[in-house]
């Protein structure tokens, strides 16, 4: 509680200093708008209802990209963990797919899928794939050898060992990867909109930049940050709920 209060006080102090600096005239409002101007713009966007469709689009892209990236990352992680030969063959390709800057794929994805939701969802899914893939691969392959031997001794099949031992053991690591993926999903959705979006918070930032509306840009930063924190905290809550069943430590 005390830490939260300290955090809130720090934020209030920083905002006050920012406001004072802007009011002193040391910096042009075009370069850095005052927090009061940002708040006014934000309230205007909320009250007029202009913000909600954009928020809905970004949240949808984020959710769909996260879902696709999670399913693919989890599936590929399990597949490559269970078949080491496949791992050796496919690993360089998986790595290469992640080393290509996702933003650079944007124009190509627009050519393939057109403007709109799909290219952004694809970019988001590609970004979310890797943390889920890596954590699943690591978690599933690093199961305690003694427990594996126990399952062999008990005559457990491959699927049983995966479902009853490997995945439950790997769950804390996989959930940590999911938390990373959630943060990256928001980055993916916003950055994807920079390239090919017509709607959404990222597309709105590009539109605000074209009219040099720095207040709106910062107001959208605030919305994006709030969205990210809300989703991250929800994921943490879900993780705590799931891990309570496992009572580790």
């Amino acid at each position: 509680m005390r830490a939260r209060l300290a955090s809130a006080l720090l934020l209030a102090g920083l905002v006050a200093a920012w406001e004072a600096w802007c009011r002193s005239g040391a910096v042009s409002p075009l370069v850095l708008p005052a927090p009061s101007a940002v708040a006014e713009t934000l309230w205007g966007e909320i009250a007029s209802g202009r913000l909600w469709p954009h928020l809905r689009v970004t949240a949808t892209e984020m959710a769909l990209g996260l879902l696709a990236g999670t399913v693919l990352g989890l599936g590929a992680g399990i597949l490559l963990a269970e078949w080491p030969a496949l791992h050796r063959v496919l690993r360089p390709y998986v790595l290469a797919s992640q080393l290509v800057p996702k933003l650079a794929l944007g124009p190509l994805l627009i050519l393939w899928f057109g403007f709109g939701l799909t290219p952004t969802v694809v970019v988001t899914a590609l970004i979310c794939f890797f943390p889920l893939f890596e954590t699943t691969l690591t978690g599933v392959t690093q199961v305690d050898p003694g427990q594996r031997e126990l399952f062999r001794m008990l005559g457990a099949g491959r699927l049983q060992t995966l479902l009853r031992l490997k995945l439950p053991s790997a769950l804390p690591v996989i959930l940590a990867g999911f938390r990373v993926a959630i943060v990256l999903a928001l980055v993916g959705a916003v950055v994807g909109e920079f390239v090919g979006g017509r709607q959404g918070l990222g597309a709105s930032i590009v539109a605000a930049q074209s009219v040099m509306d720095s207040s709106l840009i910062v107001a959208l930063f605030v919305v994006i940050t709030a969205l990210g924190m809300a989703v991250y905290e929800a994921a943490r809550g879900l993780e705590a709920l799931i891990l309570r069943r496992y009572a580790r430590g």
């Binding site: 305690d144 399952f151 001794m153 009572a247 580790r248």
Partner: protein
């Protein structure tokens, strides 16, 4: 009339890939039903490998292993195994850990749950059946692991130094639990240990292993049942000294294996 052996090892050899020498170098041994055999040896002598061969977790390079006359082709449901570490699943309660061998085969019935509860109660853990392993002490976890190995009513229990990490008093309690449960269920046991006193206290017979070979096999000259106080009697000390002498002799100059020539 001789007792029909339950577990038979004939000329069993095993070498880990890349190793210059056999880890198990031609072992012949027969274990009758119901008896408790201890396999004694220094660290690295091959006793855990021999146990895993007897469990079907490893396949011998040479020789044969039979359970009740049937060649062993892999882990058998008639054999229970207790590992060095308890290897409990953190996300299951003590009761569900005990039921694991059953739940991997079918949905546990009420009778299975009753048996698991009875086993935990026999181990003094009746009140802790709902606890997760993280909320149990080291001794309690070892007891749960032992109950898990016994739930299928195996004919043979293989134990790989399961009490090595426990304090002396808890270890003695667990030794008594093991003796009691094996006696009441007629379960044979092959207990691997490097502790001479543990082997003498538990074993009807003790085998001594050195450099991959079984260099001695003989009966423990102490009556059954053995009260805990027997550890302080001269006969117990004499039995320990005799085994120590065999181990010393084996480590100075490896003795020829007993039984079949290597």
């Amino acid at each position: 009339m001789p007792i029909e052996p339950f577990l038979t090892l004939e000329g069993v050899r095993y070498r880990f890939p890349g190793d210059p020498a056999d880890t198990v170098a031609g072992v012949d041994w027969s274990l009758p039903r119901g008896a408790i055999h201890c396999l004694l040896g220094r660290s690295g002598c091959g006793k855990t490998t021999l146990l895993k061969l007897a469990a079907g977790l490893l396949a011998p390079d040479d020789g044969a292993i039979r359970i009740d006359g049937v060649p062993l082709r892999g882990p058998s449901p008639r054999v229970g195994f207790v590992f060095q570490a308890p290897t409990l699943l953190d996300w299951l309660s003590a009761l569900d850990n005990v039921l694991l061998p059953v739940s991997l085969k079918r949905r546990p019935k009420a009778s299975d749950r009753d048996e698991a509860s009875d086993l935990l109660a026999a181990m003094g853990l009746g009140a802790l059946a709902g606890r997760r392993p993280a909320a149990l002490s080291g001794g309690q976890r070892s007891r749960v692991a032992m109950a898990r190995a016994l739930i299928g009513r195996p004919d043979l229990l293989l134990l790989d130094e399961p009490f090595a990490a426990l304090d002396a008093l808890t270890r003695e309690e667990l030794q008594d639990d093991l003796l009691r449960l094996c006696a009441s269920r007629g379960t044979a046991a092959l207990f691997v240990t490097h502790d001479i006193a543990e082997a003498v206290y538990l074993g009807d017979r003790v085998g001594v292993m050195a450099a991959g070979r079984l260099v001695h096999e003989g009966a423990v000259p102490l009556p059954r049942p053995r009260p805990p106080g027997i550890r302080y009697e001269p006969a117990f000390g004499a039995a320990c000294r005799a085994l120590r002498a065999i181990m010393d002799e084996a480590s100075d100059a490896p003795s020829p294996p007993i039984g079949r020539a290597a």
